[in-house]
Every structure is written in C-alpha cells, then in structure tokens.
Symmetry: C2
Subunit: 210 residues, 2 copies
C-alpha cells in the first residue's frame, strides 16, 4: 500500500499530524486515522478536545514544576508528606515511577530535562534556579539527586552537587548496584565494580522487604 498517495487532502493532513508523534510511522498513522474516521463524531470531538484542553489548561506546580490541575500539585499541597526532603528528577514520568514504589514520602523537584550540550540544553533551560531558591529558603534537610545514570544524567548530577554544596543540606544520590532479578554474569563491569566497592550490610539491603 502506498501511504504517500492518499485519496483525500483532509486524510493526508490527519495522517501527517498523527505521524508527527514519536514512534508512529505513516502506515500506523493511517491505521489510527481510519479508526478515528469510523467513530461517531462526538467521540472524535472528545478525542481532539482532550489534547487541546490539556495543552491549554494544565498547569505547572509553582513549587516543584510537576504537572498539575491547580497551581500547587497534590504532592506539594499534602501536609502528610515530608517537605524537608526534596527528590530531584528529570521529568514527571520519574515522579510517577518513584511514587509507584510507595517507598518515598518526601516532595519532588522536576528539572524539566537534563543538561545536554548536544541537544542544546543548558542549566538555564532547567528549573535549577528554582531548586536553589527552595534550598536557600532554609527548612530543607536533604536533597536526593535521582537522575538517570547516563552521561548527561551524571553531568547534571555533578553540576547540582557543586551548586548544592554551598548550602547546609545533606545531598544524596540513588543507590547504585545490581538490580533486582539481574544475573551477575550479565551485569556490566562498572555496575558490578561499584556494587562490590559500596557493599552494604546484609540487614540493610533486605531491610525494606522484611
């Protein structure tokens, strides 16, 4: 099937838009658009409006930059959370990932990306100044830097460590080591090397689950 010769300009426009989404090729886009075309008008209206409404009405939490329906997100406005511990993450997806563990009761700070010179992302493009303001305001005891262990993630973490070192605050990072279910034979040398060097008392490793 030649997805470049569509019988309608309107179909062409819709397929172009659908295939602008990451990971959606023209063939998949056509399949999705033809599915929409079969739905009742009200469904397609609801479908389209959901993205418009989201884009136009969703807010960023004024404290942590997580996305929210109001000016302060549910986590930042929850009095039962520990507001003296900030977990710094790259994106709102990471907030969801950590929340899903049910192991963290502090608050977050969403950077909105990581420092990546290749992609033209520098410190000023991220919410680093806002983080420093939160820390400078006092009342923060610990900042957990929870970034991916990629080159860009490590660079950003190092930048944050240097900035945060100016304040009286404990700085920590996610524990590195062998993941749950990993086989040692297939674990890379850097990870294995670090996890032997930073070996942990037995009862501490198994403390969370027992």
């Amino acid at each position: 099937m030649d997805v470049n010769a569509l019988p309608s300009k309107l179909l062409e426009a819709a397929v172009n838009e659908m295939s602008s989404l990451p990971g959606i090729g023209r063939k998949t886009a056509l399949r999705l658009v033809l599915h929409l075309l079969k739905q009742p008008r009200e469904s397609v209206t609801q479908f389209s409006n959901s993205f418009l409404t989201l884009r136009n009405e969703v807010k960023k939490c004024s404290v942590c930059s997580n996305i929210s329906d109001s000016n302060t997100c549910d986590i930042c406005s929850n009095p039962h959370r520990d507001h003296s511990t900030i977990c710094v993450v790259e994106s709102i997806k990471d907030v969801m990932s950590i929340e899903a563990t049910l192991q963290y009761s502090g608050v977050y700070h969403v950077l909105g990306g990581i420092i990546s010179p290749i992609d033209g992302v520098g410190p000023s493009d991220l919410t680093i100044d806002e983080l420093m303001e939160r820390v400078a305001a006092g009342s923060i005891a610990e900042v957990i830097v929870a970034l991916s262990t990629t080159m860009e993630g490590e660079t950003t973490a190092f930048y944050l460590f240097k900035k945060l070192a100016l304040y009286q605050v404990k700085i920590s990072a996610l524990a590195r080591g062998v993941g749950f279910g990993d086989e040692l034979e297939y674990t890379d040398e850097i990870t294995l090397g670090r996890s032997i060097k930073n070996r942990t008392p037995f009862e501490k490793v198994f403390g969370a689950s027992s």
Copy 2:
C-alpha cells in the same frame, strides 16, 4: 511507573483518549501525550483540528464509496480510467494497495467491510445494493471481486457471485497462487494445491514483468 496514577485529571483524560486507539497501550499513550504537551500550542491545535476537520468534512464518493474531498472521488471522475470494469474491495486501504501496483486502470467499489456474522455485519451493512445498482445500470463489462482470502472474505465473495450472476457481466476474482518471493517449502497446502491445479501458461505468468 504506575500509569494509572496520573498527577492531573486533564492528563488522565488525554491518556484515556489516546489509549482508545487500536494498538496503543496506556504507557505508549502517556509517552505520546507528554510529547504533545511539550509542543507549542499552535501545533497541538493543528494536531487536534486535523482529526475534527477530517471527521466532519470528508465525504464518501457517491459512486464507489471511496473517501474523497468532493462528492465524486478522483478515480471515478477521471475520464482516462476504464469505467466498464469495477474492482470490488473491502476498504479504502485496499484501493490504495491496488493503486500502488500501477496495474489496474478500472474503477472501484468499496464495500465498507465484509460479511461477518460474528461481528454482526450482514449484507445490508455493506454497499452491496449500490454495487448492484451500478451493474444494473448497464455499461459494466466486468466485476473483479478482490477480497481477502479469509473465511469472511470468501463468504462475501460467494454472496456477491450469486447476486452478480443475475446480470450479463463477467465476474472474476484475484488470481490465487504462490506469492512473489515465497519458498514452496513453506507455502501452505491449500495455496500450493490451487496453484498447481490452476497452473498458468509460462508466458502469461511472466507477461507483466517482461
């Protein structure tokens, strides 16, 4: 990541809509919606409107039921096509597939589905009456039934053969046989059996490409 605990109701609504598309799970839907959220407002407006406009403004060709921007599609309104030969297909995707071969110069008739009692699709849900009207009007020399070789496709083809037999019109079907690039060892018995029974003069098989 727990994709069932989203930090915003607007995000939740958009992810629900996106994951209503076939083959798009909640995790992919979230990824796509977060991508949209990063785009400029005008892009999201254009994205959303493309589906609304398509659904509300696209037309069905009054002759062949192919989708079209006007009342008669480009193929039906093309005087250089052979209007005495109708190729009957299930969907507009099949029109595109056959057009891409550049081997057919007749016109089409899009059924809009195939007879499938399990899915509750009967002959009256398809454009079979419209096809019979076209044939009854005279001037049609040949009807090519080009449906999938599934159980439902064969059933529909048989139903059409019976209906069309009432008219003075040549009825044909797509040639069945071993596909280009198929290895005989892995070709199923029914296909191989049919292609031996309906063996074709050598010069006819290679006629199209030489």
